[in-house]
């Protein structure tokens, strides 16, 4: 790997004063937004589960978790950031490093990213660039290396741009999932990343450690699925709360997170037995699918859905920032090193529903997963959410719509950006959609 050049390719030299000012102002407003979001979530569900308290605290980017990671780093642990959920978390855990997802959910930093790349670029990318420019994201700043999976054009160039400031390890997923060469390529990528991780951390990933990491993630998957299963019946938890609990998994200590989720599920089961519903069981049930939504700013859509008149309930989603994160476990047959690497490679590639893939046999993975989700959660409608600039999700809409039309499930295409300006417009549309769903339920 070439040594990092002192001269930057993309990132500008900004005067420290400007950086500090922007960092401060965005940080302050972000803390307000996070507090505001949580307050609103509490308001929507008067009996919000007490177990959510933990997740609210960890969700604060500038709070407890940042300090914890700093303390771990001081002890010598490494932090490895990642963008897409293709990064093999099990390998990172087995090397005793801390995995954190570093996609940016701040609206204001997207404007900073506009200085480097055009506005048509995916706003998540722009926001991440902006966050790097002013050192806004604590997890990105704390990362010793970042794993960037080159799933789309934006990610490909983002890894180049970020390499100005951080060591970026790229992983190339094949675009065709199911040919023999694809799996071969991906396995080699996994092996290469394993070597990188071992080199950075100085820890060898032994079969024993890897087994422990995989088992820990399997337990997390189990707890995760338990939470999503509880959302399938009458509403015991509002969608936003579940989404927050899901998101926190991306940067929290996974074992502690698992325990807290189990505690949350216990509480939710009690609510279910007491029939203490979070909102009326007649509330139109909505599934969201599309581009990922990152806390804190990009909570726009779920907030609008659950605070609209008539109110909607998010019962599930097909988002790589929420219900997709820990859904698939790594299945191991014989716990030899080779089997585990195979298992990890196959799970991260084959089970993915990202539209960045196509496949020889029709590429229905995403559609199938969505249909199963819609049926299991008894959703009355689907919101197809696309961030402007994402060709992959936008182009798959026609296919998803056709599949859902066959099931007589209404789909609404909603595209938006990292901006607060279109909240009014979105509100009108979401409310009309929810009205439509409510009317169908009535009749």
């Amino acid at each position: 790997m070439k040594k990092q050049n002192a001269e930057k390719k993309y990132l500008p030299e900004m005067p420290q004063k400007e950086i500090d000012e922007l960092n401060n102002s965005i940080r302050v407003s972000s803390e307000k937004i996070m507090a505001d979001n949580i307050a609103r979530m509490k308001k929507t569900d008067a009996k919000r589960p007490a177990a959510m308290q933990y997740f609210d605290e960890i969700a604060n980017f500038f709070g407890q978790r940042e300090k914890e990671i700093q303390a771990e780093k001081a002890k010598g642990k490494k932090v490895i950031g990642y963008f897409c959920i293709f990064a093999p978390i099990e390998l990172i855990l087995a090397a005793d490093a801390i995995p954190v997802r570093v996609n940016s959910g701040w609206y204001d930093s997207a404007k900073l990213g506009d200085r480097i790349v055009p506005v048509e670029v995916c706003p998540v990318i722009r926001s991440t660039i902006g966050a790097k420019m002013i050192g806004l994201s604590p997890y990105l700043e704390l990362s010793d290396a970042v794993i960037s999976t080159l799933t789309c054009d934006g990610m490909t160039k983002l890894s180049e741009i970020l390499s100005d400031a951080k060591p970026v390890w790229t992983m190339t997923p094949p675009r065709v999932k199911d040919s023999a060469q694809s799996l071969q390529l991906w396995k080699e990528e996994i092996k290469a990343i394993k070597t990188q991780i071992e080199k950075l951390t100085g820890n060898k990933i032994t079969a024993k450690k890897l087994k422990a990491a995989i088992e820990s993630m399997q337990k997390a998957s189990k707890a995760f699925r338990r939470l999503q299963d509880l959302r399938k019946g009458n509403p015991v938890i509002m969608g936003r709360d579940a989404m927050l609990a899901n998101q926190v998994a991306m940067y929290d200590n996974i074992e502690r997170w698992t325990q807290k989720i189990e505690a949350l599920c216990d509480e939710l089961e009690k609510r279910r037995d007491q029939k203490a519903w979070a909102c009326s069981p007649d509330t139109p049930r909505v599934v969201v699918t599309g581009t990922p939504m990152f806390w804190p700013d990009n909570w726009k859509l779920p907030t609008l859905v659950e605070e609209a008149t008539p109110q909607g309930l998010l019962v599930g989603d097909e988002l790589c920032s929420s219900d997709r994160i820990l859904y698939d476990p790594v299945g191991i047959d014989e716990w030899t090193m080779d089997d585990m690497i195979n298992g990890i490679a196959e799970r991260y590639l084959m089970a993915s529903t990202c539209p960045c893939f196509t496949s020889k046999d029709g590429n229905e993975d995403r559609v199938n997963w969505l249909i199963t989700k819609v049926k299991e959660t008894k959703a009355s409608g689907v919101i197809y959410y696309v961030i402007r600039g994402c060709m992959l999700y936008a182009m798959e809409y026609a296919r998803v719509k056709r599949a859902l039309d066959k099931l007589n499930i209404p789909v609404y295409y909603l595209d938006t950006d990292y901006t607060r300006e279109d909240v009014g417009q979105m509100k009108t549309r979401i409310e009309a959609f929810l009205e439509m769903l409510a009317a169908r339920v009535d009749f």
Binding site: I214, Q218, K219, R225, D328, P329, T336, E346, E364, N368
Partner: protein, 326 residues
């Protein structure tokens, strides 16, 4: 004296094996201890091994087994191969040994695996035809019905029964003799090789090479022999013709929408059947599947893979998410 002891051991093995198997069946159905199917299978295989050992002395049972292998297989799929066949049992035991030694298994490239499956037909054809040219086997201390299987035109049927050959047989003329109890070591297909290649010294070499290779192959490749065993072809024939589609009453069924293509089923299959993975949904038509149910056991998506007997689901994949013990 040793015979009596041996007999007692066998009897107890049968009784205990059946009892444990019964308990496991109840546990699986009532408490959904899905993972235990692999254990259940081992117990049933143990019981069947004992049963077959006894029945080798009674020729009538040989006929029953033949019918089971050739005819019932068309209806039950290769259930015989996965659950009853002693040769399969030996291979599973070797696999357990390999796991204990923490040696990883090898996989054949798919094309080679497919070629081996076609090899079955060749082998079966040779078996069925060769006795017509090669005449009878002279074994002095068998008579009556048993002789039917061991000589003349019915010899080919005997080779179909070869996988049932117990490793210790009460008659001489097998691979090696254990002097202190007057019995002999045998090995499936060994006697047939000795019969057909009746040249001194060459025979022994070939037999030992065959045994060595098949053991080595099984050690590295998981159920190596089953991929080209001629005994299991009846189900293959059935799969080829659409009119017989209803025949396999015991088969795997897949719900297309729930499959996430994670590939676990393909990886854990001991005979590397890819049809479970490749076929999108519905009844999986495959002629090598041993119905060992390992894929159903390991599929982590609830209700995705089901084992169906005459349309009724007897066993389905569940959301396990805890490490497997086998």
């Amino acid at each position: 004296m040793y015979e009596a002891l041996f007999g007692t051991i066998l009897a107890w093995t049968t009784a205990v094996g059946l009892a444990l198997a019964g308990i496991l069946v109840i546990l699986i159905w009532k408490k959904d201890r899905t993972r235990k199917v692999s254990y259940l299978r081992l117990f049933i295989q143990t019981v069947s091994l004992v049963g077959i050992f006894y029945s080798f002395t009674i020729a009538l049972w040989l006929s029953v087994f033949l019918i089971v292998i050739l005819v019932a297989t068309m209806f039950t799929g290769r259930f015989f191969c996965g659950w009853i066949c002693p040769f399969g049992f030996y291979m599973d035991l070797i696999a357990l040994l390999r796991k204990a030694l923490r040696v990883r298994y090898w996989t054949l490239p798919e094309s080679v695996n497919d070629a081996l499956q076609k090899l079955r037909y060749v082998i079966a054809a040779v078996i069925l035809v060769s006795p017509l040219f090669l005449g009878a086997l002279a074994i002095s201390d068998v008579s009556g019905t048993q002789a039917l299987y061991l000589r003349g035109p019915y010899k080919s049927l005997n080779i179909m029964l070869s996988p049932l050959e117990p490793l210790i047989v009460p008659w001489a003329g097998s691979v090696a003799t254990l002097s202190f109890i007057d019995w002999s070591f045998s090995y499936p297909y060994a006697r047939d090789i000795m019969f057909y290649i009746n040249i001194p010294f060459v025979t022994s070499v070939i037999v030992y090479v065959f045994i060595g290779l098949s053991l080595a192959g099984t050690f590295m490749y998981r159920r190596f022999w089953c991929r080209f065993c001629p005994t299991g072809i009846s189900i293959a024939a059935v799969n080829k013709f659409k009119t017989f589609k209803w025949m396999p009453l015991l088969h795997i069924n897949k719900t297309e929408e729930k499959c996430t293509k994670c590939g676990i089923c393909k990886r854990v299959c001991p005979v590397q059947v890819v049809d479970v993975y490749e076929q999108k949904g519905g009844d999986i038509a495959t002629s090598v599947c041993l119905n060992c149910m390992r894929c159903v056991e390991m599929c982590p998506y609830e209700g995705c893979l089901k084992m169906k007997l005459a349309g009724k689901t007897i066993f389905q994949s569940r959301n396990w998410l805890q490490p497997s013990e086998m």
